[in-house]
Symmetry: C2
Subunit: 241 residues, 2 copies
Amino acid sequence: MTNSLILKLEKYDRLSDDEKGALDNAIARIRTVEADEDIIREGDRPTESSLLLEGFAARYKIVSNGRRQISAIHVAGDFIDLHSFLLKTMDHGVLALTNCRIALVPHATLERITDEYPHLTRLLWLNTLIDGAVHREWLTAMGRLSATAHMAHLICELYLRLKAIGRVESDTIQLPITQAELGDTLGLSTVHVNRVLQELRKEGLIRFQGDALTILDWERLKKVGEFTSTYLSLQNEDRQP
Amino acid sequence: MTNSLILKLEKYDRLSDDEKGALDNAIARIRTVEADEDIIREGDRPTESSLLLEGFAARYKIVSNGRRQISAIHVAGDFIDLHSFLLKTMDHGVLALTNCRIALVPHATLERITDEYPHLTRLLWLNTLIDGAVHREWLTAMGRLSATAHMAHLICELYLRLKAIGRVESDTIQLPITQAELGDTLGLSTVHVNRVLQELRKEGLIRFQGDALTILDWERLKKVGEFTSTYLSLQNEDRQP
DNA sequence: CGACTGATTGACATAAATCAACTATGGTGG
DNA sequence: CCACCATAGTTGATTTATGTCAATCAGTCG
């Protein structure tokens, strides 16, 4: 198995052999988590950071009356809680939406890397900055778009992120996320999620049966969701961290 | 004038003399921006990052029909766009809410620092991670709290952040932000912001006349806003980056 | 003194939540 | 093997929070 961490970071910039060497034994162990289990809980102070190898996971917070808000959805290849390396205490939990396979990178290793490999450090930092960019985009969609537009926006994002890791086949992604979880992501009720999805279906923008979500009209879906992909930093263009 | 960058980072962890030396000439120049002017525009590719020395600023995005969403409010001492060092292209604009004085740190200097001072680098990284934590908290408040609770939450946050930089006097902060801007922050209409503020006033939680906002009942305000301050990382507790 | 900008108010419209079924689906244990 | 049960999706009726529209008011600046 190629080291997923190397794959992940090479998306941002070329790595030297030396850097690759440093990453080669960064992964201390592999862990699996069942669907609907917590990967990390709010308040935890992990000593390792989790790189998601397989599956879907979501960061979430719970507010008083038990309502839940999902603040990020993670797919294979995402470094879920790299921020815990410096933030120390988790300000949110991470839930496995499906069965997950996770590679663990000890914080001690990350510290060694930051001590010795500045360029690699910048790439790791960049990784967390992209998370921040996604948060801002979600904030904007949540605050200023209609429920339907927000849903379209989320679908566009997930589609492109899954495409970037080769998980698109004939315009279709596997999205093993319930409507209740989508509601917690968009800040909507389950019932309204259902209606919004029906609207997108009726408009001929998507098909969504079981876990299979097919994009029927990408251009129009993007337009409805007011989606532009730049914030995802999917192409490593003219960046030399 | 003491170097504000040193002050800022010392909040997170002790700095060595060597590190302080490195920061001493990090600030290349000072810039002032008038209220309601853009400090940076979406799409810009700045070659310097902005440290806000004085004033209030807001990060924002515009969506189609001209509606605006503010994704962060910054106060004196905040490193507004440190992330542009690695993200390169601004995914949002930054607006001066008041007249602002800004210190500029060239990206080239940041690169040198990251090459030579790993501990300092981790502190800068941490600074951007806290921004991310605030984004997540806002996302939760936006998605799952009522307008009133959300407003209370924001007030609690701004109060504590201003307190941390010594800008609280007899439970009062100067908050030079219009109700329209508050609406863009919370994802509400101006009219509703007005009503929500009146409710908080009627409940005896705050006084808010002109720019002066006084906390009348901190405990109850926190409770209404479901506010806990941990995400702000205001006390450098047991963190040794 | 206008002419702004920002705050406030009231009447009304609407998006989304809530409540309460009901249906479909898949897994499991008797 | 199939009845049962749980989970997820769907629907309709109704309520509620918040938005919109349109004035009015208050302070401030030139």
